[in-house]
């Protein structure tokens, strides 16, 4: 029965790990996001990020302002749930970002500053596994879960209801519909044993943007953008893990009004994440990522620290805990 407890703990850990935790701007999904959990599992992430750069970190189009220095402190909270759909694991998540940003632009010896605060555009994500283990319907399935090779399909939609001021270049909300479709892949490398797990995750995705018809009185249009995220993760111990993170973005040239089309981005970001399973329900991560091919003034320059806490639960497991604790 000791082993049974260990497995239940593992199941709980996975519930918590599977919570949604987007890294704004440079990486949309954290390491281990596409691991699957028990159907009916819930997660609530709280993510704090401190980001600096020459672009609005909340705008995935990454319109670069070469002379700008933008600092953002934002928190994202949300809720995610795993559901079975056609015997596959489906995930539905709703997230809302809030916080403050300020920018300083130095040009021609003059300094201009701007700031924004409030709520950003909420995002709804739907994902479903296409290739890989069937939906995890009970603890036995959870015990037997190994991603091996998994392929998902995801769709993210951002709703243009965040705070927006058309007189400002810097906004929390983006005043347009946008989102992405992607095909996350998880490769399990070796044993699936807590303390020994290694995975390579890649998320190719295509971003699509509607026009912002009220961007400083003009129309902001952005071409589609391709993004490829990768995470090589490895357990350091049963409750500790680390990952090397990379993201590459290309495309997404923006045009304001009738002006010339801007430069398409071609940005590579590298970073790392450290994860710690605090207890059966709570997971903690700390991460850092920075653009690396950013020596030219027109390149996207951005880096950010991220701290996340994710609380996960499932009614069966919570009930078992109540019984075992004698409540």
């Amino acid at each position: 029965m000791k082993t049974m407890n260990t497995t239940l703990r593992c199941s709980l850990a996975l519930v918590a790990l599977a919570a949604f935790c987007p890294m704004l701007a440079l990486a949309q999904a954290p390491p281990r996001f596409y691991w699957k959990s028990l159907a009916g599992a819930n997660a609530v992430p709280v993510i704090y990020q401190d980001i600096s750069g020459n672009s609005n970190p909340l705008d995935p189009a990454h319109v670069v302002s070469p002379e700008a220095n933008i600092d953002a402190e934002v928190v994202t909270v949300g809720v995610a749930k795993m559901l079975p759909l056609f015997d596959r694991t489906a995930t539905i998540a709703l997230l809302e970002t809030m916080g403050r940003m300020s920018s300083t632009i130095e040009a021609g010896g003059k300094t201009a500053s701007e700031s924004a605060r409030g709520y950003g555009d909420p995002m709804l994500e739907f994902g479903i596994n296409l290739v890989g283990p069937s939906a995890i319907m009970g603890i036995p399935d959870m015990m037997r879960y190994e991603p091996k090779f998994s392929l998902d399909l995801i769709a993210d939609v951002f709703f243009p209801v965040g705070e927006y001021d058309s007189e400002r270049a810097l906004n929390i909300g983006q005043n347009r519909w946008y989102g992405r479709v992607g095909a996350p892949v998880v490769w399990q490398l070796g044993a699936w044993v807590p303390g020994q797990r290694t995975t390579l995750e890649t998320v190719p995705s295509l971003w699509l943007f509607d026009d912002n018809t009220d961007y400083l009185g003009e129309t902001l249009s952005t071409d589609p953008m391709f993004q490829l995220e990768s995470h090589l993760t490895r357990d350091l111990a049963v409750t500790h893990w680390a990952s090397l993170d990379a993201t590459w973005m290309t495309g997404g040239a923006s045009t304001v009004g009738d002006g010339e089309e801007g430069d398409a981005t071609d940005t590579l970001g590298l970073g790392f994440t450290l994860g710690y399973q605090v207890n059966d329900n709570l997971a903690f991560t700390f991460g850092y990522m920075s653009t690396v091919n950013d020596s030219d003034p027109g390149d996207l320059q951005m880096d950010g620290f991220r701290v996340s806490l994710t609380y996960g639960w499932h009614k069966v497991i919570e009930g078992s805990k109540r019984l075992s604790e004698g409540h």
């Binding site: 260990t6 593992c10 009970g138 015990m143 807590p194």
Partner: protein, 605 residues
């Protein structure tokens, strides 16, 4: 015994004649084989803790095509007896002498204070007995061994010193399949020998079952073509716990055992009846009183416990695969047809939690050692190095379907095992099942000596050789008789203070509580193979008759009942014993009552 002895004497005589004619091959010629060609090769395939019903040929659902093929090519026996634990069985296999005379009167791990230093209780295969490999080697056989020895570690006790010309052997009773890790803080390293030298390390890419097979093939290959037959003792470690298994072979049975042990036992018994392994009226022994009703378990518990059986099944299948490699090699070199295969498990399946016994007490040295060396206990690491999984009493009972109890005890589940014999000495119908052949592991020595034309010595190291207790199977295998034992012959066993006697269809057993009653129990195996009904109270004369045989056996073999036993304190540690009856209590087993649909209604406002 008289008939066997006369055959042995005749062989002796013939061997002596042959020796005079050809001094260089003393005792080498079997008269029959000599006239028709080479004497047969002999391979003993021993599964460690392999259960009676595990092989497909004995009703198991585990995929064992290679063992089944041997059964289809030979004959199966359903009344074959080993001892209740491993080294006693092995000692009788290789000496033909009763355990209390051959040094394994008790396992070395449990030698009682009053047995210490007494002849017959050395805890290893005594130097005062002749060994089968030595006698076969003397008669011109190559003698090879791979796998588990467990009958002594000192230089004069290892396989090379006991008659094996080539060997690759694990000297301990168990250990890791991946490396030299053993179980206790005091003996953390498993000892291995290769050709009589103690190994400092294991070969690259070592995995026990695979390496043993590779080594055996290499031994045979090295001397192939020199005209001499070989005796190969393939003493697989598998499927003894810990269930170490290559990663790619762990998932062949996923979910198959979630249905629980009762259901799997019922399925196995049904197949056994259809195959003729068990009589149509056979019933399952009762589930051990402390084993839960699997239908009451939560799915997670079923899956967790089922996983252990999945791994065990994988172990058996893996062993079968490697046995298949050996068989195919023999076919390839043209030796298969001239090879006798004798296949069986060394005792009942293991239902005792060995790991818990060793390392289950926090604060002990063994617990600390296990936390370092044996703590990979996540379900997904089961099978890896440093993991320890055994499947427990519930699945051991499955392996011993339909019998009661398991390894270590003297219900049929502890001592009765599946036996397959194939090869040129078998003249019975291929694929037949002999349900009448009352056979014993000690029979193998006289059988093979007769087959090889080898002789059993009258003296060993100047002392009179202890008597062989077995009966040759040669006539039985030739179809000239159904059983090597008459109604007067009997067999008796004792280890850990538990004991039993069987004569004809009758059996008495005395076992410590709670597995026994600490009185003699009496069973009629022809009518009650699962030992449901203790007839001691109604047939006291039969008990008396068999107890007299026990007394005779104990006296002849210098049985010293141990004054300290594994069972001490067990009554206090285990749940109180009550009968297990299906469906009781209804509180737990009754189903939801569903009213007639036309009487269902919503509440009135």
């Amino acid at each position: 015994m008289n008939k066997t002895l006369s055959l042995v004497r005749r062989c002796l005589l013939m061997a002596a004649v042959a020796a005079m004619v050809s001094p260089g091959a003393a005792g080498a010629a079997n008269p029959e084989a000599g006239s028709k060609g080479r004497r047969p090769n002999i391979i003993i395939l021993l599964g460690d803790d392999l259960g009676f019903s595990d092989m497909g040929a004995f009703g198991g659902e585990i995929k064992t095509p290679n063992l089944d093929a041997l059964a289809a090519d030979g004959v199966r026996f359903t009344q074959f007896y080993t001892h209740a634990s491993c080294s006693p069985t092995r000692s009788m296999l290789l000496s033909g002498v009763d355990t209390h005379r051959n040094g394994l009167g008790n396992m070395s791990e449990w030698t009682a204070p009053n047995q210490m230093g007494k002849p017959g209780y050395e805890g290893n295969l005594s130097r005062s007995v002749a060994t089968l490999p030595q006698l076969l080697k003397d008669s011109g056989y190559h003698t090879y061994m791979v796998g588990k020895w467990h009958m002594g570690k000192a230089p004069d006790l290892i396989p090379a010193a006991r008659g094996f010309e080539r060997d690759f052997s694990l000297l301990d009773g168990a250990g890791s399949y991946w490396d030299m890790l053993n179980f206790t803080a005091n003996t953390p390293v498993s000892l291995y020998t290769e050709d009589g030298r103690y190994l400092t390390k294991l070969p690259k890419n070592y995995y026990a079952t695979e390496t043993y097979t590779d080594k055996m093939i290499s031994f045979i290959e090295a001397n192939r073509g020199d005209g001499k037959p070989f005796f190969a003792y393939v003493a697989h470690q598998a499927p003894h716990d810990p269930y170490h298994l290559p990663r790619g072979e762990r998932n062949g049975y996923v979910g198959q055992y979630d249905k629980g042990w009762d259901a799997v036992r019922a399925e196995r018994l049904q197949r056994q009846k259809e195959m003729g392994i068990m009589p149509k009226d056979a019933t399952l022994a009762e589930r051990m009183w402390f084993v839960p009703d699997p239908t009451l378990l939560a799915p997670a518990a079923s899956a967790m416990l089922g996983r252990k059986m999945e791994l065990y099944a994988g172990m058996v299948e893996n062993m079968d695969r490697h046995i298949g490699r050996l068989v195919n090699y023999l076919k390839k070199i043209g030796e298969y047809e001239n090879t006798i295969f004798i296949t069986f498990g060394d005792n009942g399946a293991e239902g005792t939690d060995l790991f818990e016994m060793i390392a289950g007490t926090p604060g002990t040295k063994n617990y600390l050692y296990a936390s370092i060396a044996w703590s990979q206990n996540h379900i997904n690491s089961w099978g890896d190095p440093h993991s320890y999984v055994g499947y427990g009493p519930m699945w051991a009972q499955v392996s011993m379907t339909p019998f009661s109890q398991y390894k270590g005890y003297f219900a049929e589940g502890g001592i009765r095992n599946a036996l397959i014999v194939s090869g040129p000495i078998v003249k019975r119908a291929k694929g037949s099942i002999n349900t009448a052949g009352y056979a014993h592991v000690a029979d193998i020595m006289p059988t093979l000596l007769e087959v090889a034309g080898a002789r059993y010595p009258e003296t060993i190291n100047g002392a009179k050789a202890p008597p062989l207790i077995g009966k040759s199977w040669v006539n039985m295998l030739a179809g000239k008789e159904d059983t090597p034992r008459s109604s007067k012959d009997y067999t008796a066993w004792e280890v850990f203070g538990n004991r039993a006697v069987r004569q004809g269809d009758w059996k008495i057993r005395w076992q410590y509580k709670p597995y026994g009653t600490e009185t003699w129990e009496l069973f009629n195996l022809a009518q009650d193979v699962a030992e449901h009904h203790d007839l001691a109270a109604t047939q006291p004369e039969k008990v008396k008759e068999l107890v007299a045989l026990w007394d005779e056996y104990a006296k002849e073999n210098n049985v010293i009942l141990p004054n300290r036993v594994m069972a001490e304190g067990m009554v206090r540690k285990m749940p109180e014993r009550f009968p297990v009856e299906a469906g009781f209590p209804p509180l737990m087993t009754s189903k939801q009552f569903v009213p007639p649909a036309d009487m269902m209604a919503d509440p009135k406002p």
